[in-house]
Amino acid sequence: MRLEKLKSEVWTCCHCSMCTESVNDESGWYKTCPVYRQLRFEDASARGHNTIALYLLEGSLKYSKELADCIFKCTTCHACEEICKPMGNMMASIGGSSLKTMVPPIVNALGVELEPVHSVAIMKAMRADCVDLGLDPEPIKKLASALEETHNPYGEAQDARIKWAEGLNIPEKAKIVFFPGCEPAYRAQEIVLATAKILKSAGIEFAVLGDEWCCGNPAFDAGYLDLGERLVRHNVEVLKKAGAEKVVTTCPACYKTLKNDYPKIVGKLPFEVVHISELLEDLIREGKIKPGAVREKITYHDPCQLGRVMGMYREPRAVLNAIPGLNLVEMYPTRQASWCCGAGGEVIASNPGLAVNIAMEKVPLVQETGADLLVTCCPACKRNLELAAKRKKAGYKVKDLVEVVAQSMGL
């Protein structure tokens, strides 16, 4: 069992219910687990998963189809880990980024680890065990099979990956490589096109790779670890061949996987990985792009992988606040306590109904802000939030950050 390796981590969970359904006004939490909010039994939450793990290790439970169905409902949004961080509420409350930076090393020196229980890793180890035993749900098997055969989750042809770039004269070799990821390349081309137009307008020479494969995130999420590794190794090779020194992503899952997971597999990367919001912030500061006025009231949805996992809350907001006329109103809850859109953790593939139900819960939060436009930084979030808004006849539009920036530049 892969879970065995995490035995000591499983035992660190004290099984309090903070990850299940907490409300905490001080640190802006209004309920924790999006799946628990929908399904209402404890097996849906991180505490439930950790209990399942404990009883798997102890022998009272065995892996089964029903167990696999349960753990494949997790969106991997990391809200459970965020609320579990020791002193996390205090860290959220204390003022000033310098204090936030100073406190962890001080308490670390006192012997205090500010790490949460790594409930998502525990859950993913169980998913991997299910895959080893052939118990993963059918849609996940199909997804893995598509990844294996076509190197994208949709079963699309490889040569269609950069079809969107036809006529744009984008080379396949450059120091800066734009890594669109599967969803933008095949399903959300408005995002890749907007990104490419902005980069060109800023005078940046960049490449896109016809031989790019899936970043590996869906495979790792689904428990297909060997497959994920193969995808990673391929991408590192093609990025090296392209002479990449900097890889730019728009998809937060690609960003997280390239930046966090690739080095664990291949060692130190020969290139830097940046998210488009970081790059846009730099370009605006340097005056290389000059957004024009967009008179709209907007709100921003933090993608889980970009926010809670990568800690990137400021950059997208800085970009939006640099657009004259945009009135950014925050939802409640937001940032570290932001509600997941429901699409993550391959739930959009394994349980699409659950995914959209989670997204529909977010509609009133958006409406409460009075925003006409919901902006996010993730193609999967965009798709799911758009579907939810449509189903609920919410009356607001959903756009990616790059679309808003491109619009402000008249592109």
Binding site: S17, V23, D43, T51, L61, I83, C84, I94, V117
Partner: protein, 502 residues
């Protein structure tokens, strides 16, 4: 329970609450075979506990009543559960008994905020955080923040578990704030206590009327006598002014006198202490260069008016200095950080226990008069030191290696919680056994002092019942027999409902 019987019972329960709210599959059942074990001595691998046969989520008091009636006919145990924070086994079935878990967390509405009556009526499955969230919109609070696991725990669990909390020093224990209860009795009848027992009273909440205080039977009973479904509690305005203060004292006598006097005069909202002699050597070496070999008191104080608040702080300062205390400049640091001890909710719960306090920190939370605290702790310290090799130093607490003891002021009369926290490796069966022995030895010592009472019995501490006077136990059993002749209500809790084993 046999598979066919379980299927039949699940089917009948679905008839009451609907298919969506009943689960009898193994995965769901086993996720309810556990509760918070960040403290006290509940542990999931004990031979005592097991999975329920069925988990059901009632949506109304009437449904709870119908479920209890059905359970009575079938003689199946009922275990009401909220956030699963009990820590003494009250929210988990006994392996030999199984039963139906009533997951109350869908009964989570505020029914009435009675502004002119300083009261709030709610369903018992509401979580602490949600209640605070809603009440803060009205500028009021129920005073206590909630037990371990804090804001994810439910009010129902805290009330049935007789819990205290941050701020109990000012507001009293949670149950002291209860005005009325609605309870489903073991026969399925629904009763109201206090003023709501009057046929014409609809929305006036008062506890002490209509004869005996029948609410008291259910408070702290762990569900042995019925299922609490609705509760009315007192509310208080949220104080506008609050500060966290700290003083260091030359000896523990002065420290405890200060703690007692603070409560006596009503100046304190929350208070935690550290006695130098009770610290692990590793922690002593950390704290001595900063404060000297002194005993520390950290307290929160609050008021509604600025002039009163300032005067109160002056009075506290004077009192501390008369007892040889010196100011520890925590107040300004807390101001800079924007935090205080009274309105923060993360001292326990989440990774604090898992990662900071040790993988499995076990506490003997015993209640004693604060002036007796030293006596209680000295004995516990001797026991811990005798068995220190049983403790796991695998994941040290804040500089304290493997044990940590402190008093927390809790209620009027200078009642304090003597916390002895220790870390063990529960995944090692031998260490687990030693941990249980050590835990029991501390308790036996504590009870021998004549200054300690267990504040929570649950199922895990039922062995402590033998230290209660026989007449008292007999009285409880009489109540149990009268109310629950079939022993269906949470068997094992308070040591009751275990035919032939009591």
């Amino acid at each position: 329970m046999e598979k066919a019987k379980r299927a039949q019972l699940a089917n009948d329960l679905e008839g009451i609450v609907g298919t969506k709210f009943v689960r009898a599959d193994d995965v769901t059942r086993w996720t309810y075979a556990i509760e918070d074990f960040g403290s006290t001595f509940f542990h999931p691998l004990s031979d005592e506990y097991g999975a329920p046969d069925i988990v059901v989520k009632p949506q109304s008091t009437q449904q709870v009543s119908d479920i209890v009636k059905l359970a009575n006919v079938r003689k199946v145990p009922i275990i009401a559960r909220g956030g699963g924070e009990d820590m003494t086994g009250a929210a988990t079935p006994l392996k030999e008994k199984g039963g139906i878990i009533l997951d109350m967390t869908d009964m989570n509405r505020i029914i009435n905020f009675a502004e002119g009556l300083n009261a709030v009526r709610f369903q018992n499955g509401i979580r602490w955080g949600e209640l605070h969230h809603e009440l803060s919109k009205k500028g009021v609070t129920v005073g206590n923040w909630g037990p371990h696991g804090f804001l994810g725990g439910t009010l129902g669990g805290g009330i049935a578990g007789n819990c205290f909390s941050i701020n109990s020093a000012k507001y009293g224990w949670v149950d002291e704030n209860v005005l009325n209860l609605q309870v489903v009795l073991p026969n399925g009848e629904i009763i109201e206590t206090g003023s709501l027992a009057n046929t014409k009273v609809k929305d006036w909440y008062f506890r002490y009327c209509n004869g005996a205080d029948l609410a008291g039977i259910f408070l702290g009973s762990g569900g042995a006598f019925g299922v609490i479904t609705e509760v009315t509690m007192r509310t208080y305005p949220i104080p506008e002014f609050s500060d966290t203060l700290a003083y260091a004292f030359p000896d523990t006598d002065s420290q405890t006198k200060f703690m007692f006097k603070l409560e006596w005069y009503g100046y304190v909202t929350d208070l935690w202490g550290l006695a130098f002699f009770a610290l692990h050597e590793s922690f002593k070496s950390l704290i001595a260069p900063l404060l000297g070999e002194k005993d520390l008191v950290i307290l929160a104080t609050e008021a509604y008016d600025k002039a009163i608040f300032e005067a109160q702080k002056k009075a506290i300062d004077k009192m501390a200095k008369e007892l040889g205390g010196s100011v520890v400049p925590l107040e300004s640091m807390m101001h800079v950080l924007g935090v205080s001890i009274s309105d923060k909710t993360e001292w326990c719960g989440g990774g604090i226990y898992g990662k900071v306090m040790g993988p499995n920190a076990t506490c003997t939370c015993s209640i004693s008069p604060v002036l007796q605290w030293q006596k209680v702790v000295r004995g516990a310290l001797e026991v811990i030191k005798k068995h220190e090799d049983a403790l796991s130093g695998g994941m040290p607490m804040i500089g304290a290696k493997n044990f940590f003891m402190f008093p927390q002021l809790l209620a009027s009369g200078g009642v304090c919680n003597s916390v002895a926290t220790m870390t063990f490796d529960f995944s090692d069966p031998e260490k687990l056994k030693r941990a249980q022995e050590l835990y029991n030895e501390i308790w036996e010592y504590n009870l021998d002092t004549g200054a300690v009472a267990p504040y929570r019995i649950g199922k895990e501490s039922q062995s402590l019942m033998k230290r209660l006077k026989p007449e008292y136990i007999s009285f409880m059993k009489t109540i149990k027999r009268a109310l629950d002749p079939n022993n269906i209500m949470n068997p094992g809790v308070l040591g009751l409902g275990l035919e032939g084993k009591e």
